[in-house]
Symmetry: C2
């Protein structure tokens, strides 16, 4: 297969000029474009579609793939937009544009990614919502496409990732509740195969075992990542014969519904059931009693993602000599009044 390098050698032109001519850029004169097209035809040039748009300067665009859908972003999103802001702060130094690839929850993320790569308009990708086994990782790695994952996975292609500290969340939450006298502690988990669910549950089990406690299956509450999911978990807890006295939530929006679900059943969060929430989101700031939860610097997280991605991109890695970043992002506990002692 004759590539762009061979065409450039044949014409004694730079690869960049040939690339611009083949890609129809306006900054190539007509005579050069004519020569390039003729030579490309005569030599049997075949573009490497997947690689074509994935080199420095060829698009100047980096895609951030996130999952959407009325279950996930129906009430907006306060997490990713803050991360994007940090990513952009870094990219703006390099004239790179961030575009957000909205993968609907109705669609298979693998299909979506393949289509995106075929469309070839991004130099590099940031993927999120990583699954336990995530074939997107192998797909991108095999094609040599620079990418970073927000979230770990069992699928390891020697790729960079940054993940939130779900172990720390589980350990800090459980330790704190046990210290206050709780023994029957529930945890939430995503309803799907998001890797964070596995990490969080494993860590919660380990933390409980450290105190001689167990996590019975009925105290693992699965829910969609929204207010209604939180409400349903509260109703499940309320209906239990032997209720937990405390819960640690792994999604920020569920806390809001959980509060409402308890109140609708005449229970008071913090007093009747201790609640430790996930992130101190803009909505969570308005909960009463104030939610004990975790603060994450999302802007800095976005900057970290961007820098770690640039460290993998041929045109930038000498300026970001970070190697393959694999980093657990810290979260700091914000003590509220939602996790009192057991009644």
């Amino acid at each position: 297969m004759v590539g762009i390098r061979r065409v450039a050698q044949h014409l004694n032109l730079s690869i960049g000029t040939v690339s611009r001519a083949l890609n129809g850029r306006p900054d190539v004169n007509e005579e050069t474009r004519r020569r390039v097209l003729e030579a490309a035809g005569a030599l049997g040039y075949a573009p490497n579609q997947a690689g074509r748009a994935l080199r420095r300067g060829s698009t100047g665009v980096v895609g951030f793939m996130m999952q959407t859908g009325s279950e996930i972003t129906g009430d907006g999103d306060t997490f990713f937009m803050s991360v994007f802001d940090g990513v952009q702060a870094v990219f703006s130094r390099h004239n790179l544009d961030l575009v957000v690839l909205l993968c609907s929850s109705r669609e298979d993320p693998d299909d979506y990614l393949r289509r995106t790569v075929a469309r070839g308009f991004a130099d590099a990708l940031i993927i999120s919502a990583t699954r336990r086994e995530d074939s997107r990782i192998a797909y991108l790695a095999e094609r040599g496409i620079p990418f970073i994952a927000l979230g770990r996975s069992e699928t390891d292609a020697g790729h960079p990732w940054i993940d939130l500290d779900f172990e720390g969340l589980a350990r800090t939450g459980i330790d704190r509740l046990v210290a206050k006298g709780h023994r029957r502690i529930a945890v939430s988990a995503p309803a799907d195969d998001a890797n964070l669910g596995f990490v969080f549950l494993d860590s919660a089990r380990t933390a409980l075992e450290g105190h001689g406690l167990v996590l019975p299956p009925e105290l693992v509450l699965r829910s969609p990542p929204n207010e209604i999911g939180g409400y349903q978990m509260a109703r499940q807890v309320v209906a239990m014969e032997e209720r937990p006295t405390a819960i640690v939530l792994v999604n920020e929006t569920t806390a809001i519904g959980f509060y409402r679900g308890l109140r609708d059943a005449g229970l008071e969060p913090g007093r009747d059931i201790a609640v430790i929430g996930f992130r101190e989101s803009p909505q969570a700031k308005f909960l009463s009693p104030p939610l004990t939860c975790f603060r994450i610097d999302l802007h800095a997280l976005g900057e970290g993602l961007a820098e770690a991605l640039l460290a993998t991109m041929p045109g930038f890695q000498e300026r970001y000599p970070l190697g393959t970043v694999r980093r657990i992002w810290p979260m700091s506990l914000i003590t509220g009044e939602s996790d009192g002692i057991p009644r």
Copy 2:
């Protein structure tokens, strides 16, 4: 200038095949690609860069340009993500992908748009944050790029738009406050030249005049669209020698800061200063006293934008025979307890 049509005629191939060959799509056999490239060279083909990626099927991507920045989306965004969800619901019927083009507030939106168009990866565009005079509109119209604006503008290129009912917001808010006995009513406005600010202020003035009242310049409070902006407006109000007894806010996030700003000065929203907010956002739902504000079906708004855009796109307009949509999107009043009678 020889275009793609001439190359296709010369080879007796379809325009689609020639386009795919020139664009390096993998679904063209090598012999065909060779013939196309040779003919393109021999005939002096010059791609129409701006138009190239803006026909049906050529990219399958529609871009939604929104403004970001720590001032705007630093705490997330609950408006646009809900709109995107509606846009995607329509696009998914047609295998179109929505990508979000994040234009940082540090960047000139006109420059950003020109770069995006040059990158040519979208078939059509949705623009937002329309300004009073918005050169993006003429730019896109001149190039025949299908687009729709979320927001009106004085710049009229015969293009489609959908805008929120800022007149209705002003009129309903003012009428309601006047009926409760308020005579000295402040309004908020964006700090920049967003068109919505002009529409809202004009409408507020007209509504006040209808009651024999005026809007003195000191009661037009300008602020960035965030919590801190709302807080600063409250401090301004508190510091006035002759305070307004009521305010109508034109941004959803400012209500939260406005409440805080009043309370920090020992004033109670609803009792000391009546407040009518903009949208019933997820955060606003947690305000106490409950905020009198407006409900907007953002999912439906997204669907409306998508359908109106498809009505302008060559491959879709027969399925969406809507003509040039120019539509004021309704908002319905949600009565809370934040707009009592004057003290």
